[in-house]
Amino acid sequence: MNILINTLVLGIMYILASLGFAFIFNMLGTINLAHGSLYMVGAYLCYYLCAAAGVNNWVAMVIAAVVLAAVGLLLERVMFRPFLANFDRIVMISVGLITIGQTIANILTGNKAMVIPTYAKGITTIAGTSISNERLVTFGVGLVLLLIALYIVNYTALGRQMEAVSQDRLGAALQGININRVSAIVCAIGVALAAVAGCFMGAYLGLSSNMGDTMNLRILMLVMLAGAGSMNGILITGTVMGFLDVIFPLYFAGNAGSAIPIAIIVVLLLIKPEGFFGHELKM
Amino acid sequence: MSSLLETSGLTKRFGGLTVMHDLDFKIQEGEIKGLLGPNGAGKSTFFNLITGVHAPSSGHIFYAGREITKAKPHQVAAMGIGRTFQLNPLFGDFTVFENVTMAYHLRPHSTVGQAFFGTKTYKENEKYIANSADEILEFLGLAHVRNELAKNLPHGYQKILGVARALATKPKLLMLDEPLGGMNPEEIAFSINAISKMRDKGITVLVVEHNMQILDILDSVTVISFGEKIFEGTPDGMRNDPTVISTYFGGTV
């Protein structure tokens, strides 16, 4: 039961962090290398708001989400929009940003543990098992956000516009869709979600200067396994990844615990690099 | 004469849309055949199916007696089928000359080892390629822009360069995808003349084209509409065929 809870918590957080990356990949056709870094920046920002400015952790999370949403808008404007056709330039800018973010994290991370104050104290008992409220709340809020995101994608006009842009950018523009506005909104939402995930994970597991890299790896795995254009696939791969990350560290200590799930994914991707749930890449 | 290229029951579906229905097509060795049809008829799809860019949903493709239904583009090229592209037909950052010399990749072929170590074979090949490329540029009237970057060429020249590139692969079957598109009358006359001369060089030509002036040099023509064949025969027959006329112009004559 505990395993289930932990899986759900981790899974939801992975999915939230990956949604933005998937949005950008499907809609713009390019990858946001800095997504893991932005996740980390969200966490660090939240931590410092709480620790240095005494801000309430929920408020700090909202602030972090808003700030990162603005960063998402900025990225769309100065990085994606001008250079969609030129992957090299996007890489240059992304790598510069990642380096800046990582250096900041390196400098700020000292020897003491940095943990964002927990989002819910206490324990609840459900069906005879005690579950920390923190996990319940993390999963709950995550689930709500995920449902909202899914609703937007599947049932709103914005979602249909996103679909149109991801299928045919020029065609969508000719249909009167403001592709820049749609792209900007999507980037903002995506990055904000990553920041929220960062805040929750920062409370759940604490901050570390390599959390950006670790999450980036998970994001890549999720999106690649799911395949191009598949939002729903990410739900499945996210949960599976959460499960693997919970199960294996139980039986294997140290680095092996995280290494084995990765080995499994390596094999899966070698066999089917285009993912399992996406649409055909080569005809 | 034997048929050089033959398709039977060629069908292609993209999702729910069927763009090619059961197409039976034949081209004889040594002829210049046209594949005509209104926009969206499936002409470029046909090219892509033959050359392996897309895999057919069903049906078979035969070339020189062998089945090539599942062959990949570079394999199709190696078998002697050359093609031009309607859009983005070139290596833009290469010069005109480099575009043509690059096209000699298969014939003569220098292996990776020969190229790397600069063996005698490699050097001889490169020399032959340079001379042969200049000949082709001469033949197609591009010699004066030899060192221009391909992306800087006017559109008509780019199309002609595309043909030069396809010729350099020494194809037995040359598939031209709307070669006259975007050309002025002078260029069109020049190109039509050049295409008709290819038969003398032993090349079988399949032309997809909109511009009806091409009818003058065609031996036979197939007309397709919405992925289905609606006419097969001579250019004169086509001019008078009621189905063709109503497809292109609507109504009856």
Partner: protein, 359 residues
């Protein structure tokens, strides 16, 4: 068109002379360490560019250097193989792993290749970090030292062991660079460039896209693996964290800042940035011998703030991204283009003036 052979080789000759002569004078251990690092980074950045020629950006190069290093190190530590075997075997292993992990993604669009290599690079290093035989979290230690191995020869020549090691590394690097240079400038390089410009057109002339992409990957991985293998024996102790995504990102920075359009670009980038990033170490060792108080204070200040140097490189990278996309070695071309444009504008203005006068 072939430029005059001398003009194009002049920068390389200058570099060659510098790499041979400078370490003769600046021959303390810390200086030689810096030179060695520069050489490694230089070859690694150039190998990254080989893959870029085919239109793919590989995010796993750092990892493959690590594969070379760990292979050489583990073969030496566990099987006692001699260096002249472990190092080439390291290169071979890096090539194999590079090809195996690259193959599924080389068949797909370039974006997928980048994603795939980004994942594979980190995954492989993580797997190595979990492998007991590779030393786990502590890294692989007690690898036989190249410097010690060469001590005998070195004494005969009147130099230190580590200096001799540097020259061995330099020779290997020169060989690697020459091979990669030839690779690019014969027909193979042209084929790669054609493939990068248009896969469809390249395929229509008979180029097998997957084969050529993997060829580029294979060559690049071999030489970066080679450098990795030597690095294991030079440093005698390696850890998986030095071959993580971090290294790959730095290699990308070297290449982009220097200029990905020319062969010498990544070399220039590697040299410059390695020096900038290593400046604190440099100053520390220099200040040890210095009498100037100001200098010692300055170098201590640099040392304390050395964690901030990546900001400098990142800033340069952003400037390059927006203003100088062809990199530092592209500056002469950018200037030339700007001058030509200005001359053209002046001509047009002059023509307009004449026309106006005639009207």
């Amino acid at each position: 068109m072939k430029k005059s052979g001398f003009k194009t080789s002049l920068p390389f000759l200058i570099l060659l002379v510098a790499f041979i002569a400078l370490p003769m004078f600046l021959n303390s251990r810390s200086w030689i360490d810096i030179f060695v690092t520069i050489v490694f980074n230089m070859v690694a950045a150039v190998s990254l560019r080989v893959i870029l020629l085919s239109g793919n950006l590989s995010f796993a190069q750092g990892c493959f250097m690590g594969v070379g290093a760990y292979t050489a190190g583990m073969l030496a530590v566990h099987l006692g193989l001699p260096m002249w075997l472990t190092i080439p075997l390291g290169a071979v292993m890096a090539t194999l792993i590079g090809l195996i992990t690259g193959w599924p993604f080389a068949r797909l669009k370039t974006v997928y290749f980048s994603m795939g290599t980004m994942f594979m690079g980190q995954a492989i290093m993580l797997l190595i970090s979990a492998w007991k035989a590779a030393g786990g979290a502590q890294g692989l230690n007690r690898i036989p030292s190249l410097s010690s191995e060469l001590k005998g020869v070195a004494e005969l020549l009147g130099v230190k062991g580590y200096q001799a090691a540097y020259f061995v590394i330099l020779i290997l690097a020169i060989v690697s660079l020459v091979v990669m240079f030839r690779f690019e400038h014969c027909r193979i390089g042209a084929t790669l460039r054609a493939l990068a410009q248009s896969e469809d057109v390249a395929a229509s002339i008979g180029v097998n896209p997957t084969f050529y992409r993997l060829l580029a990957v294979g060559v690049a991985c071999f030489f970066i693996g080679l450098m990795g293998g030597v690095q294991a024996h030079y440093m005698t102790s390696i850890s998986y964290s030095s071959y993580s995504m971090n290294l790959t990102l730095w290699l990308i920075m070297y290449m982009m800042i220097g200029g990905s359009g020319k062969f010498i670009g990544p070399m220039v980038g590697a040299i410059l940035i390695t020096l900038v990033e290593g400046v604190s170490n440099l100053l520390t060792s220099l200040s040890g011998a210095s009498n100037s108080e100001a200098f010692v204070a300055f170098s201590r200040w640099i040392g304390e703030n050395s964690a901030y140097t990546p900001f400098l490189t990142a800033a340069v990278l952003l400037v390059v991204a927006y203003l100088l996309p062809t990199g530092l070695v592209g500056i002469p071309d950018t200037i030339r283009a700007a001058k030509a444009k200005r001359a053209e504008m002046r001509e047009i203005e002059a023509m307009m003036k004449e026309g106006g006068d005639n009207a």
